[in-house]
């Protein structure tokens, strides 16, 4: 399974729905998408990972890089993830404390 990226706008946020595998091969596509959005002035991002099947440290690096990019513009990046196998990766790398992770899009968009 390759990586799928779908972007839409809601409540002032730009939501990137990610599907498939974020790994050493596909992570650059996600990085490019985030860079493109930040380049067009979209600084409040929600990365929806509900349909992500695999995540490695290359993918984590892209997410951390994205967070730095939006914060440089006083923006935000929220993650949506409810899969225990992915949440475990965030926990053991200490990144669960770095990212705001929500269980659903409704929760992610509700918090102001």
């Amino acid at each position: 399974m390759d990586l799928s990226l779908e972007t839409r706008h809601e409540d002032g946020f730009t939501i990137i729905e990610v599907g498939g595998e974020i790994d050493v091969y596909t992570a650059p596509k996600l990085r490019d998408k985030i860079t493109e959005l930040v380049g067009t002035g979209e600084y409040d991002l929600v990365i929806d990972m509900e349909k992500v099947d695999f995540l490695d440290s290359t993918g984590l690096g892209v997410l951390v890089g994205g967070l730095k990019k939006v914060r440089a513009h006083d923006g935000s990046m929220r993650l949506i993830c409810n899969q225990e196998r992915l949440l475990k990766i965030f926990r053991i790398t200490g990144l669960a404390k770095v990212f705001v992770i929500h269980g659903s899009q409704a929760d992610a968009l509700a918090e102001r």
Binding site: D23, V24, S57, G61, V64, K68, R85
Partner: protein, 133 residues
């Protein structure tokens, strides 16, 4: 007439070119081997993640761009995985590799109880194993 099978070194060895697109193939092989050893899908997922992670890091770490990354899997009382490639552990330029703030190897060190990263002559070797119940 029955033919005696001459057994070679046990296990499965896969070598892939330094193409990130091929890491997924190795992950699939690793998951298949793990699944033959256990029905615990959490264990299978951990092996899949670990093997993919080790391959990805070795691809990014070595100077030897023409040399393949080799993955050897074998099973006895444990599932053993060795991922290796030619070249030193230090990356291009000799600086610690840090992917946008994510320290290399931290995921594997935290995830796998039996994990080692060593230099064997000119090769970098990642060794991991898991007990089988």
């Amino acid at each position: 007439m029955a033919t005696d099978v001459v057994r070679t070194v046990p296990g499965i060895t896969v070598s892939i070119a330094r193409d990130p697109a091929l890491v997924r193939t190795v992950r699939l092989v690793a998951a298949a081997v793990a699944r033959r050893s256990s029905r615990d899908e959490e264990f299978v997922e951990e092996v899949r993640l670990a093997v993919g992670e080790a391959c990805a890091l070795l691809m990014g770490a070595s100077h030897a761009e023409d040399e393949p990354v080799t993955v050897r899997l074998s099973v006895d009382a444990r599932l053993h995985v060795e991922v290796s490639s030619d070249g030193p552990m230090t990356p291009r330029g000799g600086l610690p590799r840090d992917v946008a703030g994510v320290e290399p190897w931290v995921l594997l060190r935290a995830l796998i109880d039996d994990f080692s990263l060593a230099q064997d002559g000119s090769r970098t070797v990642v060794s991991m194993s898991w007990p089988l119940s």
